[in-house]
């Protein structure tokens, strides 16, 4: 009986946050939850966090999705409050662009170097 206690608690938490949305909306809401950062627990998404604040954020996500907002709209609402920090999928602009472009840039430089080397040898 004692061994089952943790599972009883799991059942309780699940019941406390019963998905109230139709399956398609619930799936969209859950996908978004994995992309949003819990603000009081570093490097955890609100989907993975047990913090009260994360639960409140999940509720807001569900509520807005249920009201017909797209996941993008919900995300941009939170970004308008907290900036890109709130999302694990920040837009590819500004300083972030360097991170995305740098590997391609170095690959291109390498390709040019190799091409020039072989061309010279061939000549």
């Amino acid at each position: 009986m004692k061994a089952l206690l943790p599972f009883a608690f799991l059942a309780l938490t699940a019941a406390a946050e019963a998905p109230a949305l139709p399956p398609a909306q619930e799936a969209a809401a859950r996908a978004l939850m994995h992309e949003l950062r819990c603000l009081v627990c570093q490097h955890q998404s609100i989907a993975d966090s047990d913090a009260d604040m994360a639960a409140d954020m999940r509720a807001v996500v569900r509520e807005r999705i249920a009201a017909g907002e797209s996941p993008e709209q919900v995300k941009s609402y939170l970004v308008s409050r907290y900036g890109d920090y709130v999302t694990f999928d920040p837009p590819k602009t500004g300083a972030n662009l360097v991170l995305w472009a740098a590997p391609l840039l170095f690959l291109a430089i390498g390709a040019v170097a190799v091409w020039r080397l072989y061309r010279r040898k061939g000549a």
Partner: protein
Amino acid sequence: MTARRIALIVPLLMFLGFVALAVYRMGEPQQRVIASKMVGKPVPAMDLVGMDELHPGLNDGDLRQGTVTLVNLFASWCAPCRVEAPQLKALADKGVVIHGIAVRDTPQNITAFLKDHGDPFRRIGMDPNSKAVLNLGASGLPETFLIDGKGIIRKQYIGQIRPEQVAEILKDIEEAKGS
């Protein structure tokens, strides 16, 4: 130096620079305070239920009455909120209008909290689901927002207000009055 050497050295330096930047940024401490993007913007629409007869609710219209106000996000369960209570009292004693937003809390617990730690608040709006917290771009407790007479959020003080901050906040309030 030949053009060939430059062609070898420049990409190498760029690559090393990139690695150095990545290593340097990895060593930076994690961001602990998350500033609200609402600073400089009008207070978002809100309509919070009051805590009791002494403390009516709070809506965004209350924050556009021509007076500079402080809005303090607090809770009876929040330990640093106790620590900043004397500072809020000092500000209230100077005539500063302070409204509270009680986060995930109950009137009973707040009443006890205010009895123990002093009551600087004119209005107290209840925020049981953190909706106002999210709307203001706040991330933890306590946080305090300075709002000018037109309802524009001027400043955000993250974390407990320390004794040495009282003078700074009074100065910020004077500045906000001029606008």
